[in-house]
């Protein structure tokens, strides 16, 4: 379950970056969750494409084994961590000028 543990570390880091390091607090904003709600179906669709066609495959021991739309649940958390991290920095840089 290395993928499981590492992805949890990354999502925690993104949350810490948003809430405590930059104090942007995107996760408390309606605009962020609306954006994520728009992104989520596309994420599920692209995850499904990559995994159901076996474009990307996973070692059984690396994942917990729960799947959503054919993709490991870890993929969903990974996408969230990536998006939250980038959007936090985007807003942070916008604040500066």
């Amino acid at each position: 379950m290395t993928y499981t543990f590492i992805v949890l570390t990354f999502v925690t880091s993104s949350l810490a970056l948003d809430l405590f390091v930059t104090r942007i607090r995107l996760v408390t904003r309606r605009a962020f969750w609306t954006s994520y709600a728009i992104i989520l179906p596309f994420q599920l669709l692209t995850n499904w494409w990559l995994t159901s066609r076996n474009i990307v495959m996973y070692r059984g021991g690396a994942i917990i084994g729960w799947r959503i739309a054919s993709a490991p649940v870890e993929d969903l958390i990974f996408g969230f961590a990536l998006i939250l991290g980038v959007l936090t920095l985007w807003v942070k840089l916008g604040k500066r000028g």
Binding site: I6, L93, G94
Partner: protein, 109 residues
């Protein structure tokens, strides 16, 4: 088909870049700010990607990727993923801002 992963990236670009034209989200005009937001996060994830590829936590069907590899045996498509997907996310956030300007995001002047 060798274009399996590229098809997903193309879909993401087509699905998001129209926001530049229709909603004038102006993310590409602010590409320096976008790259400064994307690079630190993308590098952290690519370090993990390199590790995971090395340890076979995940692997790619060589018949469905272009077969061009960057550093650390990571397929070209993976590098493009970490550019295309974050750009799409930024464009989405900016599109929401365009439609709902009264919703504060945190960088308002």
């Amino acid at each position: 088909m060798r274009w399996g992963y590229v098809a997903m990236l193309t879909f993401t670009v087509v699905g998001s870049f129209w926001l530049e034209v229709v909603l004038k989200v102006r993310v590409l005009q602010r590409i320096a700010r976008a790259l400064k937001s994307i690079l630190p996060v993308a590098i952290a994830f690519l370090v993990w990607d390199a590790w995971a590829v090395h340890h076979h936590d995940w692997y790619f069907d060589i018949k469905q990727i272009l077969g061009i590899y960057g550093p650390f045996r990571i397929p070209l498509e993976e590098y493009l993923f970490f550019l295309v997907v974050p750009l799409a996310a930024i464009m989405t956030l900016e599109a929401v801002r365009k439609v709902k300007p009264q919703w504060m995001i945190g960088d308002e002047k």
